[in-house]
Symmetry: C2
Subunit: 325 residues, 2 copies
């Protein structure tokens, strides 16, 4: 009996000492230059004693959200939330029937909406994102994101995340990276699903925000969202948001549009190794194809700079075996 125990223990000890057969950590990526660039970088910065070793605490990776972790066509998904929410709130706001841009939103009149420009959009955003507590807003997003479906794909929006990017997030974390989302989208919007969908906890989500204020209501403390922009986490705002929230420069940055360019520049300019990657939407069959001329997720200047500086450019069409989970 004792001998059997000893043998069992030995077998266990052996099993623990032998590393698991290295399974491909990125099975949805086709073998090619992009995948090799990613794994080469990760091996370089995690090889102890190597010239490019980066301590785990400094392994900060930042990801754009719209167009990088999930789709963004035919409109940013958060804008779909805004329009759906306007319709849901309309019965309590009879005055919206005769007032733009609310009338256009209720009627789904995209042309009239577009004519109103950014100012009209901001009105709709504030009507749906402000004058409520942070808890109330989170509940509204949760209700939407667990039920609303993409108009063309018919899927939940959270099912329109990119499987190869989910694998990349997990691969980086398994190698000691801390993964952050740095998006022009609303910080409190993304936080509702980022942990469940991406494995990114709320404290690692950076985004645009409205001002909030602390109040006591019936003796209970609440945070109230005000109809006033606090921060726009886009373009030159991204490095600012990174510094504000992380306080240390990323070593890897992933984006898909010109709005991510400054984030990639900021990352590339750190002392020591860094990795910058653009996802290129060139797959009209499985997702969408757009770049220089697109109103959503335009990739023009960024593409030139990526080519000039040797950043990794991912072709969804040829580099990704699968797109959605």
């Amino acid at each position: 009996m004792m001998t059997r125990r000893l043998l069992t223990t030995t077998a266990l000890a052996l099993a623990m000492a032998v590393p698991a057969l290295a399974a491909d950590p990125l099975p949805s990526w086709n073998d090619g230059a992009a995948k090799r660039a990613i794994t080469d970088f990760v091996i370089r910065v995690t090889t102890k004693g190597g010239p490019d070793f980066v301590p785990p605490a400094e392994r900060i990776a930042v990801f754009d959200n719209d167009g990088t972790l999930w789709s963004e066509q035919p409109m940013y998904f958060q804008l779909a939330f805004v329009l759906d929410r306007i319709k849901a709130l309309a019965p309590a706001h009879p005055e919206w029937k005769d007032s733009q841009p609310f009338k256009a939103a209720i009627e789904g009149d995209v042309k009239a909406l577009a004519a109103g420009g950014e100012h009209a959009l901001l009105k709709l955003v504030m009507a749906t994102h402000a004058n409520q507590t942070t808890d109330e807003f989170a509940r509204a997003v949760e209700a939407w994101v667990t039920t609303a479906r993409h108009p063309e794909a018919g899927r939940l929006y959270t099912d329109m995340v990119f499987q190869p990017m989910l694998e990349l997030l997990a691969y980086l974390r398994a190698n000691g990276f801390k993964t952050f989302i740095v998006s022009g989208g609303g910080i409190e919007f993304m936080r509702v699903f980022a942990e469940r969908v991406y494995g990114v906890p709320p404290e690692q989500v950076i985004g645009s925000s409205v001002k909030t204020t602390f109040e006591l209501r019936d003796g209970q403390p609440v945070l109230v969202r005000l109809p006033e922009i606090n921060f726009i986490d886009d373009k030159a705002g991204k490095p600012v948001g990174i510094q504000q929230h992380i306080g240390r420069r990323p070593i890897a940055a992933f984006g898909n549009s010109d709005g991510d360019l400054q984030m990639l520049e900021w990352t590339a300019a750190r002392k020591g190794p860094s990795f910058c990657l653009y996802v290129r939407h060139d797959d009209a069959a499985r997702e969408w194809a757009y770049d220089r001329e697109s109103h959503v997720g335009r990739l023009d200047k960024g593409l030139e700079e990526a080519k000039a500086r040797g950043w990794t450019i991912v072709s969804m069409k040829s580099d990704w075996r699968t797109v959605f989970p």
Copy 2:
């Protein structure tokens, strides 16, 4: 030989299975109600299957810095940095000799400084904290914090941290808590030493800030600190800062002044177990004794509320075996 190997393996397996004799994780805390309240809470929220179990991801603990993690007398240490920095920069600013509040700062004329009030202070803060890149500012703080000494104690400021609180930070982290600093002090000021001194990485430091802007200088991206307040992380600002950076409510909050009251209220009002603690400065022999009448770190309203709500009040004099490391 094989038998010896087997025996060795068994011994190893046994050694790994038997937990280390539980050493006191808080040796600088005297046995008493405060220490017991802390350990009772930690055991409650980490006991799997228990009624008050909190998953690790939600074990957020927030700590004020000035007066809670390190001393704050005779003035906030960051103010000592401001005054030292004004003197260091004075040769490059001959105009300061004849202009208040710079003249008073250079001459160490505390009375004249006080007469200038907050407006004068803000001028000095901006002259030392703005119009420089984030890297330049971090280098200035690093140079100061590794050399400047407290005028009365003669020690480095980073040696005037509270040993019992260092143990508390480590104890919470060992129990799956994520520890954050939430301070009225400058976020970029604290980040320079928070990881080395407190074990708190930059991305878990929340504080007051100036606005920053992204620029290319000679083709190199930099973040420039502007002479404009971005956020004041004090009083009702603390829950706002917590929401902005963490996006989830803490389950434990530690402070020492009325400036921390809203942070403790916000924590206490969460659904489920929570823990709030005030450090009371009542040890004139080993540190300082002050509360209701103090201009720095006043504890008045907070003390009443702590008593009324049964929050833990730590007496530095009787609860702490040692104060400084």
